[in-house]
Symmetry: C2
Amino acid sequence: MSSYQEILQNNNLKATHQRIAILEAIDHAGHIDVDKLFKNLRKHFPTLALGTMYRNLSEMSDKHILLEVTLPGQKVKYELKKEPHIHLVCNWCGKIEDRILDIEDKIKECEEENDFTVLDSNIVFTGLCKKCQDQKKV
Amino acid sequence: MSSYQEILQNNNLKATHQRIAILEAIDHAGHIDVDKLFKNLRKHFPTLALGTMYRNLSEMSDKHILLEVTLPGQKVKYELKKEPHIHLVCNWCGKIEDRILDIEDKIKECEEENDFTVLDSNIVFTGLCKKCQDQKKV
DNA sequence: ACTTAAATAGGAATTATTCCTATTTAAAAA
DNA sequence: TTTTTAAATAGGAATAATTCCTATTTAAGT
């Protein structure tokens, strides 16, 4: 369990207030896009520059501290990189949930059949979450 | 096997030269982003407007004629919607390949464990294609 | 051919992202 | 603790991406 400060320093990045605030805000939100993030941070950090946001989101993604979550027709969202997981996205309420799903067998299958070395995977299932299933029944 | 004209008309879209050219170009390229598509089409279609491109890519995606392929750190790419498939993306040469992979069991598993109704899936494996594996050995 | 609703071209307006540089700051050294 | 310095930031300009507007054109039904 390492602090944001440690995470940054382990990646040769100075632990600036701005970076720590960005990581805190992303961790708190779960998945968040540039605009929402910027508006949230500005409240407590009025001088934060948009360029600083873009630069840091990009740097921290390059260093695998953050992960970009891309969904068709939506702005890129950022999340803290933790254990590998898939995303469940509700078409109705838009909520994004993280779930663990073991897909080692599928990766093996894919590698053997295609002469392809899989290094990473990105899986999104879209559909209806519990709450929205229930509401649509009513 | 239906023509572009039929596909468009079945979706209540007029079969304009522009739309047919866009579909042809995407089909030919496999996966292509707005800029490359526009530059290609302009060669044979000098009056094509960028707004027309954006409008049509968006409309045809809404109608599920096209599919947006989103990969972190890259521009959105478009492909013709055909049978469901996953994407293999080579980290080294960037090539995107389509592959069939049966994941019904994983979807079932995910639905049962999470009270989530899966309607669609989007799977990307990134790694090294055959050609690039070989080249890195040398 | 005629009609008409839909689509386009072209460009303006808006939004998103990157770039530039003087100033500030984190953190290592003294 | 102060000093030093390379790295990072703020602020704004520049560029790129996308959407919007409207007069004109066109697909396709009559």
